[in-house]
Symmetry: D2
Subunit: 245 residues, 4 copies
């Protein structure tokens, strides 16, 4: 990873996670949902920006030329299957967008949100690997982010396209990893500690009781910067090592 | 105008149209609201695509670096002043987006919606002329649309910036007109009649009772195409005339 | 097809079409190049807008995080392999962009160019099917265009990913067709005749000898509109037929 | 300023800086050109990413609906007035884009380039204040960047619109400053020292003689991180101070 981290959660809406809907409840999707839920809990504790999306339209007039009949017929703003799955959605924390195309970045405010947060690395979760995950991964890459796809946080209705598409993006645009690696990184990362501390400074700047808190946080920041220097050296070693292998 | 027409309605939300809010109820804005309401009624009858927006955020974390204190403090998703003014909003017809920046086109699905509708000319309404109207007009122009700003359908808290910004866009990017001209064009336009007929055909394509209706509509289409040929000649004359003056 | 048509030609640069370069000369790519060259000749005769692109960077600093070593090392602005293949490039006709990401539409002026031309249907040609064609097809779809991929106008270094990716886009976003169908459509299409006539009117509007030419063109336009009415009926029949099957 | 810094240079092409062209040589533009040239020299020494643009088209067909006759007639790719002014352009350093609309960010790779560089603050230079600078400033703001406009690095053909537009953006989107402040900040900034050191690390990562250089640079990085911690405390004080005034 490089710099600050942001996470996107793509289309974990009931249409894909509830077996009663025509596209819902596929095993790989349910596995992705569980791992993502587990991962997001850790991420929120580190103050990592999370953007979640669902796909829905008012009428067939305002949607692109979808060839998938179930999308044309049921992905509507007022349909119950458009609700986000409660396992991955924290309404007090996550930023939510209703997307129009396959990519969560396509004509949504997710890129500017991540720019404002200083994000340089994006982690992709959600479904389906061969559709909206593929599209979101391409976009993350072409927007200039370093991109990671934890394989067990994304899912697909079919296993073949899941594998083939991870292979396509893994050789070109992104690093394919898994939930446990992400969680381990978050738990030990001093960059994330710094990210967290900085967010607190941000709140303080705007807050009323700024002065009292300030001295405390300052100490945290200085401490985390020292850690960061240490980690920077380690990362640089790591990067070189990867090149030399 | 050229080709099919689309209309955008920018930020006629209660924050600007209700005098009880700090930025609300300015005379030019209220004038713009009334003229826009009048104009949209005619537009809906001609099946013209309408995209309406408001500006609101979840927290200060997910908004750009606004310098306007009232925006930073009150433009929130859960604040009553973010609701659209009922005078310009038809929930059964208009497509609505929550925008992030000053421009209604910035990272929203309005451009793809207009592409799918075949729109070539965009009419801009809303507030404020020196802020979000200026930004939306620049974007409409740079997305390649022929752009019209009916002066009395847009408003500003102050008259000076209203005039100066209309002057800036009028000499570079857009034609400045007024509500009556727009309404007169819509009432006589055979392009719009064609647009309307085509929309019906679109519904028929997807509909259940397609075959019966089809013959009727076919006749309308053929008739409107003949009118269109007539109008095309007139428009071409008009265009030449404008050049020769 | 629907409405006016635009064509994109993706990355037929020497890096992919010359066998002396590491990624160059794959059989499917050479087949795609030949069919595209044949198709573009017909398209230019019908005044169809064509946008061609290549991928190149100044240094590794201004490129996204490519994992493909050959792209990182050789896709440079000053490298001879970045030149467009002369078989598909007409410098007096085509609009050319240097793209940054896999998609020809990503942060290039191709979408606004097509909006200004009134394009509603996009035909995708170029290479590689499992990389930049996949990305460009997703973008064409999510920008709201009706999208067609003529299978024998796109190519890939490997056949497996070529097939799998066409399958992925064909079931979701686009119609998969071939060069002969495209050429036959163009040769018989009165929409394209109209598109061509209108372009002439556009030139006339701006031209010096407008008045003399005008009467002649007017007759063409009226004639082509009658043809268009005829064709519209046929298309509508076709659309219904497709639904009823 | 916040985080890493990027600079855009808008339309300092001969059409605006050479008196022999219809829009060229206005006093405010020449003043802006000189200050920008002086500022960019310092910025390049600190390894700050610089994106420069000019506006030009192939034909009238592929440009937006410009109302400015001189733009329609002379802003062509093959016209000598489209060349960048040598005073502000370093071909070995700057990234250059040919833009389509008024904003340097509109459908160009400048945003992804800045994302990859981790830019959080953008400084805007160029011309004209009431046209392309206004548009670029709005875009910088809505893409989520903290935005600064040094007043004497931007210019306009007329002084009235120059002032009015700086006022419009200064109360909403950006901080208005000047060249001397920017230069002073760069000369004392340890963030920029860090940015510079990191770039060297980046080169090292890719380089051949990585290992030898590495130990040296590591020491620089650790030293600059200590400085950064110091500066962070100072900046935080500054930010609070600004709020309390």
């Amino acid at each position: 990873m490089r710099g600050k981290v942001g996470i996107v959660v793509v289309d974990y809406q009931l249409a894909f996670t509830e077996p009663r809907y025509p596209l819902g409840g596929a095993p790989l999707v349910m596995r992705g949902l569980e791992n993502t839920a587990r991962f997001l809990k850790v991420a929120r504790a580190h103050n990592v920006p999370i953007a979640t999306c669902f796909t829905a339209y008012k009428t067939e007039r305002d949607m692109p030329h979808w060839k998938v009949a179930a999308v044309r017929d049921q992905f509507r703003l007022d349909h119950p299957s458009s609700a986000l799955d409660p396992q991955i959605y924290d309404k007090d924390y996550d930023v939510v967008v209703c997307k129009f195309g396959p990519s969560i970045f396509f004509q949504t405010p997710v890129v500017p949100y991540f720019i404002k947060e200083g994000v340089e690395t994006v982690i992709i979760t959600g479904c389906n690997t061969s559709g909206c995950i593929r599209a979101s991964t391409i976009d993350s890459f072409q927007w200039g982010f370093r991109t990671i796809v934890p394989e067990d946080c994304v899912g697909d209705i079919e296993e073949g396209p899941h594998r083939v598409n991870l292979h396509d993006v893994g050789r070109r645009y992104a690093d394919v990893s898994n939930a446990d690696n992400m969680i381990a990184y978050f738990k030990q990362s001093t960059t994330l500690k710094f990210q967290s501390a900085r967010a607190h400074v941000g709140q303080v700047e705007r807050g009323v009781q700024a002065l009292k808190l300030f001295t405390v946080i300052q100490n945290v920041v200085v401490a985390s910067l020292s850690l960061k220097a240490e980690q920077f050296k380690q990362q640089s070693h790591g990067a070189l090592g990867a090149r030399l292998r």
